[in-house]
């Protein structure tokens, strides 16, 4: 089967600063992949390149065989680490905004998710807590019928209980025929939802492992591996 995402020798420089260096990998359909790295390792840049929001300096990226660009945007749903909604909006407006903007937006699914995540349509986005805002962004991202979902730090600012709720929502509402890449540095709470993990450090891929294989052969959790790889 064709891969959902293919990256070939991707490099990215911001001025003279190297953000990514020769990154190549493929993601198959139906996978939940953890993109793990500490802050500043290049996770977000990589996600944005896959989403078509940042141009790589070198290399090729494609989604389901389509080169990343205008044509790939219908295939990819991106949950940014910072909200794209405007402060004047209420939850209802944000949903309507996405519905108008994306032909593949499923309003019924969005309503189910909002209910599941206990978000009120009438609430002002400016008054939402960080955790509630993440729930809203997750709803907006997963309510699109995409082939590839990119969730950039979906559990960054929430407490452990709320994290559980977000994981619940991901597993409850994700589409099993598509693939999901979740970037995070909070490995322990989330490692059990991954099929495989990709470790990125200083803009380079340093390891890629099937998580059950890692537990089986090394007797290690992803969290332990993460601490080993990133030990200073």
């Amino acid at each position: 089967m064709d891969s959902v995402l293919r990256l070939e020798h991707i490099g990215k420089k911001y001025g003279s600063k190297v953000a990514l260096r020769d990154v190549s990998f493929e993601i198959e359909p139906g996978r939940i992949v953890g993109l793990l790295g500490t802050n500043g390792s290049g996770k977000s840049t990589l996600m944005k390149i896959a989403a078509g929001l940042v141009q790589p300096t070198e290399g090729e990226a494609s989604v389901c065989g389509t080169p990343v660009g205008t044509n790939s945007k219908g295939l990819v749903s991106f949950m940014p680490d910072r909200p794209l909604t405007e402060p004047w909006m209420r939850v209802r407006d944000a949903v309507a905004f996405y519905r108008d903007f994306y032909a593949d937006f499923d309003s019924a699914k969005a309503n189910d998710m909002l209910q599941f995540l206990k978000l009120d349509l009438g609430e002002r986005i400016s008054t939402l807590s960080k955790g509630m805002n993440e729930r809203l962004q997750l709803t907006l991202a997963l309510s699109r019928a995409a082939r590839l979902y990119l969730l950039d730090e979906p559990i960054g600012g929430v407490d452990p209980v709320a994290r559980g709720k977000i994981l619940d929502a991901i597993l409850e509402f994700y589409d099993e025929n598509s693939s999901l890449i979740v970037s995070t540095h909070l490995v322990k709470d989330i490692e059990r939802i991954f099929d495989e993990v990709i470790f990125i450090r200083d803009g380079q891929i340093v390891m890629r492992e099937e998580v059950e294989g890692l537990r089986m052969t090394a007797g290690k959790s992803v969290d332990e591996m993460f601490k080993e790889v990133y030990a200073e």
Binding site: G164, L171, I193, D195, M216, D223
Partner: protein
């Protein structure tokens, strides 16, 4: 359902053991329907492919069977369930005997200690049930 996972061990083995324990303890009885991959994945907050693998292994062992269009069910074969019980008992015993050997007990000592412990335990139970 609730289960404390150890992230250092394969998750599918832990879910297999968990389901086996439920069968042995009677929380799941022969012929019971078990949750779908999706339901169990969401409930345990586990990767769906891991749950899928768990079910495949349980099927391979004959503990769970798929009925087309209906879902997965606990086997109705009592002999299978007895097999699981024996397997789990074997694991407990191995661990126990190993532990006792490490403590320096010999064969006869272990037997007498076990006999005594079992007698005390059952006497206690009888005393309670007679009030």
């Amino acid at each position: 359902m609730s289960i404390e996972f150890d992230n250092n061990l394969p998750i599918y083995l832990q879910i297999m053991n968990y389901i086996k324990r439920q069968i042995v303890s009677g929380s799941l009885t022969p012929g019971d329907k078990i949750p779908s991959v999706r339901e169990l994945a969401a409930e345990l907050q586990i990767n769906p492919n891991t749950v899928q693998r768990t079910f495949q292994e349980l099927e391979r062992e004959g503990i769970v069977e798929t009925r087309r269009g209906l879902g997965r069910f606990v086997t109705s074969e009592e002999s299978k369930i007895m097999e699981i019980k024996k397997e789990m008992a074997g694991e407990l015993l191995d661990k126990f005997v190993q532990g006792m050997k490490e403590l320096g007990f010999g064969k006869d000592d272990i037997v007498s200690i076990v006999t005594e412990a079992v007698e005390t335990e059952f006497k206690e139970q009888e005393r309670k049930s007679f009030g």
